[in-house]
């Protein structure tokens, strides 16, 4: 009797999970398999779609493709710069929101706004902010006396990348701040208080108590953000289109162009898959480093 009840409960649990499994298999599982397979083919548009098995030949093309290597480098630069900036700003914001002051509730809502706005739409807004003659960035910077002549932000490789990083940091810092704030609020106040009584200054308390306890939150935030930044598409596509001269083209953008512009379907898949593999490697390294730090 109890055995059959238990079995029924188990059947129920499986049935209740079925819709999620089906939906994810349809939208994520099958397409993921398909893109991996596609990367092993030569699939192009010539008199209809022509596809033939290519083994590793399509993947091997990336090694001699300067544009792929440059996209890989751009992706790495964009990811490392924007994630570092986001984690730094997110930490500052979290420390601020962790204090008690009047209007804290309102500020929490205000700082969440960038996170909720559509990236593609705000990328357009940032292109306008970084406009060379009429933009807000040049106006503010020259009023503050930080620049003498207007900067053509999106027209030069280094400044275009900097503009992308700032826009991305603006958009995603709230997410990092929220994760870190939750971590901060889990730090036991008795420990901090005890350290204060023992004469530890505020920097010492932060460095010796808060920061070590915050490592798991930092890892989660860094991991999430690195993977998302690695696959960034919207912000680059809209703000710079990969320009000037391909200097901000990321792997996502290059894969997109291979598919929809050059109609080189197999190669687009190879680019996307290789990009994903590097991202996985990156994630493994972050997790490894973090766990070593925690045990040390």
């Amino acid at each position: 009797m109890t055995g059959s009840l238990a079995r029924r409960a188990r059947h129920e649990r499986v049935l209740l999970l079925l819709p999620v499994v089906l939906l994810l298999a349809l939208v994520v599982g099958v397409p993921a398999l398909r893109v991996v397979l596609l990367g092993f083919t030569r699939t192009e548009l010539a008199d209809g779609v022509v596809s033939s098995w290519a083994g590793l030949a399509t993947h091997a093309r990336t090694f001699a493709d300067g544009r792929f290597l440059s996209a890989l480098r751009n992706t790495a630069v964009f990811t490392s710069l924007s994630v570092s900036l986001e984690v730094t700003l997110g930490m500052a914001l979290a420390l601020l929101l962790d204090r008690s002051f009047r209007g804290r509730g309102a500020l929490r809502a205000v700082v969440l706004v960038p996170w909720a706005l559509p990236t593609s739409v705000m990328a357009l807004a940032w292109a306008w902010i970084f406009h060379d003659t009429f933009g807000m960035a040049n106006d503010l910077l020259s009023r503050l006396g930080l620049i003498e002549a207007p900067v053509a932000w999106l027209a030069r490789p280094a400044t275009a990348m900097a503009a992308l990083v700032v826009a991305d940091a603006w958009k995603t810092t709230p997410f990092v701040a929220l994760i870190l704030l939750a971590g901060l609020q889990a730090v036991p106040s008795e420990v901090l208080e005890a350290a204060r009584v023992d004469g530890a200054g505020s920097w010492q308390r932060f460095r010796r108590i808060t920061l070590p306890l915050l490592v798991p939150s930092l890892v989660v935030a860094t991991l999430f953000r690195s993977i998302q930044a690695w696959g960034a598409f919207d912000i680059v596509y809209v703000m710079t289109g990969g320009g000037p001269g391909g200097s901000t083209e990321t792997l996502s953008l290059y894969a997109f162009q291979s598919w929809f512009r050059y109609l080189d379907f197999g190669y687009g898949a190879a680019i996307a898959v290789q990009g994903m593999l590097v991202a996985l490697l990156l994630a493994a390294v972050v997790v490894k480093l973090a766990s070593r730090r925690e045990t040390a």
């Binding site: 209740l16 209007g103 706005l117 990009g275 994903m276």
Partner: protein, 278 residues
């Protein structure tokens, strides 16, 4: 507790900086949207429009079916949200009764799925959409958006269900309710805050999605607002109608800004509950 004046001043400065950093880009956009053309293209910049004008909004609505984009976005996002919740709620109910090890394995799997970069799936999804004749159909966006929203929705709902006292569920079982009855009559009503959080997170993500919207809609009448705005630009890079674009940006972001100000607590709770417990 009395604060030193210097500390208070520094705190106020930090609060102002945080607020300015978060809002200034959006404020600048809103100001541009109601600035007369001559003040938009003036250097040094004119910040406060005088007098404010509705010419850009009018021109935008004349040139583009912008109201249609908004309606499409709302319909697609709402449908995706409802589908995601309908699929995620039973899964969450199932997971919260599982032994911890099995449950954590499922939750981790869902987390990994949610980290999948959409670009990787774009082309196969495009092939599928073409194959099924779903180009320009709302279904081509609703299904993927629901699927992308499901992992976080399960996380949030599962956390909400697990906080309910176990006796409530047992009592419902003794009253003869099956799993669906328990879910609909007991668990969801009691965990309504989690349901709201999961729904809002899915809605915002769907409203904001761009890559698939750009790729699966070719007709103006089918475009959602993110894809629609990408088509507002002028004939060349040097003729971008910034006033109209700003108007479009403001119109498309108002709904999410409202959601944030009304539901900040729920959204933050959902986001961090999902990420930190993992």
């Amino acid at each position: 507790m009395r604060r030193r004046p210097l500390a208070t001043a520094l705190l106020s400065l930090a609060v102002s900086l945080a607020a300015a950093w978060s809002l200034l880009p959006a404020v600048w956009q809103a100001l541009t949207a109601v600035k007369p053309e001559a003040q938009i293209t003036s250097s040094p910049a004119v910040w406060i429009p005088s007098p404010p004008t509705a010419e850009h909004v009018r021109a935008l609505l004349e040139r583009k079916p912008f109201a249609r984009y908004l309606v499409n976005s709302a319909a697609v996002s709402l449908a995706a949200t409802l589908l995601a919740l309908a699929v995620a709620a039973p899964a969450a109910a199932s997971l919260c009764r599982m032994p911890p090890r099995a449950r954590n394995r499922w939750l981790l799997g869902l987390l990994l799925v949610s980290l999948f970069p959409p670009i990787l799936l774009l082309f196969p999804l495009y092939e599928g959409v073409r194959l099924l004749g779903l180009m320009n159909s709302p279904l081509a966006l609703v299904l993927p958006y629901a699927a992308f929203g499901v992992p976080l929705a399960v996380w949030v709902l599962e956390a909400g269900f697990r906080e309910l006292p176990r006796e409530v569920e047992e009592a419902a079982t003794l009253d003869g309710l099956g799993p669906l009855g328990r879910l609909l009559r007991v668990q969801l009503p009691l965990a309504a805050p989690s349901l709201v959080a999961a729904g809002l997170l899915t809605f915002i993500a769907s409203w904001n999605e761009f890559l698939l919207a750009l790729s699966f809609t070719t007709r103006d009448a089918s475009r959602t607002v993110t894809a629609g705005i990408a088509s507002v630009s002028g004939a060349s890079l040097y003729e971008v109608p910034w006033g109209q674009l700003s108007a479009a940006i403001v119109l498309s972001t108002i709904p999410v800004v409202l959601i944030v100000f009304l539901f900040e607590r729920r959204i933050s709770g959902g986001l961090t509950g999902g990420a930190v417990k993992g």
